[in-house]
């Protein structure tokens, strides 16, 4: 059964998908730079009254844990915070749009974090995002 995005269940499934992704294990093996948060901005059409975030505890090519938390909480918990609205996340996490291209087009925005580190780990970032395509996802229509 498809899992609704965004939700706590989808966040847990994302962590499992990351850990099942051999490409991420390879390209992310040297990642020791902290947690990464994907923030989905508030959208009444989705029932999101405020920003929500998935915080991934990434280390050494593994996801050690994942939480679905309010956006402001993610900004204190995570070392890297990437923000976008729901339609943009749907494009990126479904594999329709490359994350680097989305950042160049200002569809994804790095709100917090050290950009040179993100650039250095660009293959890990792409693998991380592509993990989501393995999840049977229910992306609500707007």
């Amino acid at each position: 059964m498809a899992i609704r995005f965004p939700s706590p269940e989808w966040t847990r499934a994302f962590a499992d998908a990351v850990n099942a992704n051999a490409n991420y294990a390879q390209h992310g093996k040297d990642w020791t730079h902290g947690k990464v948060a994907y923030v989905i901005t508030a959208d009444e059409r989705l029932g999101l009254a405020s920003d929500m975030a998935m915080v991934l505890d990434l280390h050494g090519g593994r996801c050690r844990g994942a939480e679905y938390v309010p956006g402001p909480e993610a900004e204190t918990k995570a070392d890297f915070v990437i923000v976008a609205d729901y339609p943009r996340w749907r494009e990126v996490l479904s594999g329709a749009v490359d994350p680097t291209k989305a950042m160049m087009q200002n569809k994804l925005r790095l709100k917090k974090g050290h950009l040179p580190t993100i650039v250095k780990f660009v293959l890990a970032s792409k693998s991380l995002v592509s993990s989501a395509t393995a999840i049977d996802t229910d992306y609500p229509a707007l």
Partner: protein, 142 residues
């Protein structure tokens, strides 16, 4: 030189993801590597970058003390780099041997292939070679 000034030209530049990415990368690199201020001082001229498949272009105007990032192609560039978003995104990940590209590096090999195939084009050489080398030194993430 003792400092540097990196700024976005206007509101349009602030909405251009490539402008915000590259200006942030430049600022954080110089904060992390003050020894690169010498290369920043050698950045003198107008550099245009066009990520064609992302339909995003920027112009960086440098005078050795400051770098101003603008949306679109502004004026007549001394150096123009045109290519796909992958190649543009990889410019900062090119491997170097001193100030020259390391031909053994996998990113460099992909760049050379892109240059040969015409996916990546650099206009303004050899006159703007010092500008290109200084830009590479300032932006590198290794």
């Amino acid at each position: 030189m003792s400092g540097f000034c990196i700024e976005l030209a206007d509101e349009r530049a602030a909405e251009n993801g490539l402008c915000t990415m590259l200006s942030t990368l430049m600022r954080q690199n110089l904060e992390d590597h003050p020894e690169r201020l010498a290369a920043f001082g050698a950045l003198q001229g107008r550099l245009a970058i066009f990520a064609e498949d992302a339909e995003v272009s920027i112009t960086i105007t440098c005078d050795g003390r400051s770098a101003v990032f603008a949306d679109g192609i502004v004026g007549i560039p001394d150096l123009t780099i045109r290519g796909g978003f992958e190649q543009i995104g990889d410019l900062s990940r090119m491997e170097s041997l001193g100030r020259l590209p390391d031909p053994r590096g996998p990113v460099n090999q992909a760049m050379f292939r892109a240059l040969r195939s015409g996916q990546l084009r650099v206009h303004g050489l050899p006159r703007a070679l010092p500008l290109l080398l200084a830009f590479g030194d300032v932006m590198a993430v290794h």
